[in-house]
């Protein structure tokens, strides 16, 4: 039996939800607003909310100083590339862990996650040296591989959780009908787990898009993505907040739009398996 929800409680819940959502969204809203302000207004005290001379000058200045599209393209290639590569490796891995677990499967999952517990800067110099030796510094391929490795534990964990919800009997039935291992994974498992795979894909694109440590440290110009684009607009002397906000807005806009359109999928995927 479900609990009765009184209209008063419903109103309180709605107000509460909107308040929390606004608090969470406020930094982004403030960044977007600041990007349309003249520089002195951006640092005015008390802060100015809406009543200022709206201007596009910051966007013009940002684009004039640096070519946005080059950075954007690198971001797209690196985030999509690393996620697709990660899925190719993680789907079979998660399949084996979910459907043919061994004695050490749980330990293996834990161990994979432990690589996320180390601060990234701790391995900066070794990775930098490896990249230098392999000629991968400032290359899209190198960065794609690094981001894939960083996000792989999360991809495997998410897929593992989704796969566990799928009855093993269905896969058995496919096997009885003579399906090989690869066709079992490609034609039976993948279509059934598609919502889960889709949300894993989206979440990891977002994570890779926003990854700032490795993308800033391992690139110079050729492979530099939008994180590096933003990092150049802070200034030691002179006002910069409005231009920095414009650069940030340009950097987050594509991923924000992607998130907006796929939010239903994302929420469904993230809460998948929550009710057990």
């Amino acid at each position: 039996m479900s609990r009765a929800v009184t209209p008063a409680r419903k109103t309180i819940n709605t107000v509460l939800a909107w308040t929390v959502a606004l608090i969470l969204f406020f930094p982004i809203l403030w960044t977007v607003l600041t990007s349309f302000k003249p520089e002195p207004v951006a640092v005015a005290s008390p802060p100015v909310f809406l009543n200022f001379d709206w201007t596009l000058k910051n966007y013009y200045d940002v684009e004039r100083q640096r070519d946005y599209f080059d950075y954007f393209l690198n971001s797209v290639i690196i985030s999509l590339g690393s996620t697709v590569l990660g899925l190719v490796l993680a789907v079979p891995a998660a399949w084996s862990m979910a459907f043919v677990p061994g004695r050490r499967t749980k330990d293996l999952l834990m161990w994979m996650l432990s690589t996320k517990m180390m601060p990234a800067v701790g391995v900066l110099v070794p990775i930098y040296l490896i990249f230098r030796t392999l000629g991968l510094l400032d290359s899209r391929i190198g960065l794609t591989v690094v981001l894939m490795l960083i996000n792989l534990p999360i991809i495997v964990w998410m897929l593992y959780t989704y796969f566990r919800e799928i009855p093993g009997e269905i896969l058995e039935a496919a096997r009885m009908d003579g399906a090989t291992l690869s066709s079992e994974i490609i034609y039976v498992l993948t279509p059934m787990a598609l919502p889960g795979i889709a949300s894993t894909f989206l979440l990891n694109v977002i994570l890779a898009w926003n990854e700032a440590f490795w993308t800033i440290n391992l690139t110079v110009t050729d492979a530099a993505p939008l994180t590096k684009f933003i990092a150049g607009f802070s200034s030691p002397q002179g006002l910069f907040y409005a231009k920095l906000s414009a650069a940030s807005t340009m950097a987050i806009a594509p991923i924000l739009v992607l998130g907006w359109f796929s939010q239903r999928q994302l929420v469904r995927g993230l809460t998948f398996g929550a009710v057990k």
Partner: protein, 440 residues
């Protein structure tokens, strides 16, 4: 035509293309810079360089100061060779030069006229008389004040003020009811923020960071006098929330007419007198950093400079570029395109003998006098084992300087007393210096 013939023809064409490409192959210089007005302007004017040097291509990486430092240190320490020219300050040059991370620049061509570089700046960029970087622009710090407010309050600020003059003027001009504060000073924590300013103030009060045996000196009466006066000035005559004000915040306050005085970088001279951004552009007077009669003034020395990392694979082309970007010829190029007021200041003696520049920049004379009053090799009244005016040129200083700055910022915010802040600063400095092996 059979397949073999086609393949051979294709291969020949490819070889020809390859040869043609390698004959024209240009050296690409990757230049890392910080994002400030003068650097952005330089990026816009480099056509003049590439026209003279068609075999050199330039690629720019603009980064936030701390990100730049981290990127470049990782690259140099691992000989990554990603950067050919880097923008660094007077803090890094002596440290990195000593480490052998930078290419010596003693062999610049005669027409570069290295003797024209201002002596204090050149000293700050050299280790044992070897030049490791060339200055792109240099700065000291000085007093900027509102002539109209001073006149209305009946005070005069001499060209060479003492701290007593500053205190009297701050008290006279302070009018918080009308949104005007007697003095604006840095309060935001950071080795390049409040620590820089307070260190110069301490120098003029006879205090020092370390004695000749590297023993921290925050327990000295000179430091107590410095911090007591700094807090008195800021609590009585400073703007509210000053503990989060850095260069940019104070610049805005001053430009909006909210500060009677502001002691900060000489480079701000061109910002506060720019009628497009400053509401008080025609009312600004300048004076040297204050002293307390002990022979040292409160003014720092800094130069954003171009250096070549030893890991660069094109040091010769890089040398041509750094020589061009810091030459007299470049100064004239900026003057021609953007006017004399916009040329990078504080690097060459000849600029301060140029009447056109002196006429265009009302702060020029005070800037050069301030730079010449700073001595990185003898920054304080008492002898010290370090170089650097508003910093101590040792690798550990970034950490210690920021931690000490946080103590002073907390005192300014009213969270600590002067004694508590200084005791905490002393304790953490002793601990860090012991860990780093300077003291037992």
């Amino acid at each position: 035509m059979n397949t073999l013939t086609r393949a051979l023809m294709g291969a020949t064409a490819l070889c020809a293309l390859g040869i043609a490409a390698s004959a024209q192959e240009a050296t690409t210089l990757t230049i890392a810079t910080v994002n400030n007005g003068d650097m952005v302007r330089m990026q816009g004017l480099t056509d003049a360089f590439t026209e003279q040097h068609p075999d050199i291509e330039l690629e720019w990486v603009t980064l936030e100061e701390n990100v730049l430092r981290q990127n470049v240190t990782t690259d140099i320490a691992t000989s990554g060779g990603q950067y050919d020219v880097i923008t660094i300050g007077t803090y890094e040059v002596p440290i990195w030069g000593k480490q052998g991370w930078l290419v010596p620049l003693n062999d610049l061509p005669a027409e570069y006229d290295v003797d024209d570089i201002l002596p204090p700046i050149r000293a700050g960029l050299s280790v044992d008389d070897t030049l490791f970087a060339v200055p792109f622009y240099g700065e000291s710090s000085f007093v900027m004040y509102r002539k109209d407010l001073a006149e209305a309050a009946g005070v005069t600020i001499p060209d060479q003020p003492t701290w007593d003059d500053i205190k009297a003027a701050a008290a006279a001009m302070n009018d918080p009811d009308n949104g005007i504060y007697g003095i604006c000073l840095r309060g935001k924590a950071g080795w390049g923020e409040n620590t820089a300013f307070i260190t110069t103030m301490a120098n003029s009060y006879g205090a020092r960071w370390f004695d000749e045996n590297w023993q921290p000196q925050f327990d000295s009466p000179e430091w107590k006098a410095t911090i007591t006066d700094y807090l008195d000035l800021m609590t009585n005559y400073g703007p509210p929330g000053a503990s989060s004000n850095g260069f940019n915040e104070n610049l805005t306050l001053f430009q909006q007419g909210k500060c009677g005085m502001w002691i900060d970088a000489t480079v701000a001279g061109s910002f506060v007198t720019d009628p497009n951004n400053s509401t008080v552009a025609d009312q600004v007077g300048f004076a040297l950093g204050p002293d307390s009669g002990q022979g040292k003034r409160a003014n720092w020395l800094w130069a954003w400079s171009l250096a070549i990392p030893s890991s660069s694979d094109a040091p010769d082309a890089a040398k041509q570029f750094v020589a061009w970007a810091t030459s007299k010829e470049y100064t004239e190029l900026v003057a021609e395109n953007e006017g004399w007021a916009n040329v990078p200041p504080g690097t060459r003696t000849s600029l301060y003998e140029n009447q056109e520049y002196l006429a265009a920049a009302p702060f020029a004379q005070m800037t050069i006098d301030s730079i010449n009053a700073a001595d990185p090799n003898s920054p304080t009244v008492q002898p010290v084992p370090y170089t650097g005016v508003q910093f101590v040129a040792i690798p550990e200083f970034q950490g210690i300087g920021t931690a000490v700055g946080q103590e002073f910022s907390a005192a300014l915010a009213g969270e600590k007393t002067v004694d508590e802040a200084l005791a905490a600063a002393q304790e953490l400095a002793v601990q860090e210096m012991t860990t780093a092996g300077y003291i037992q």
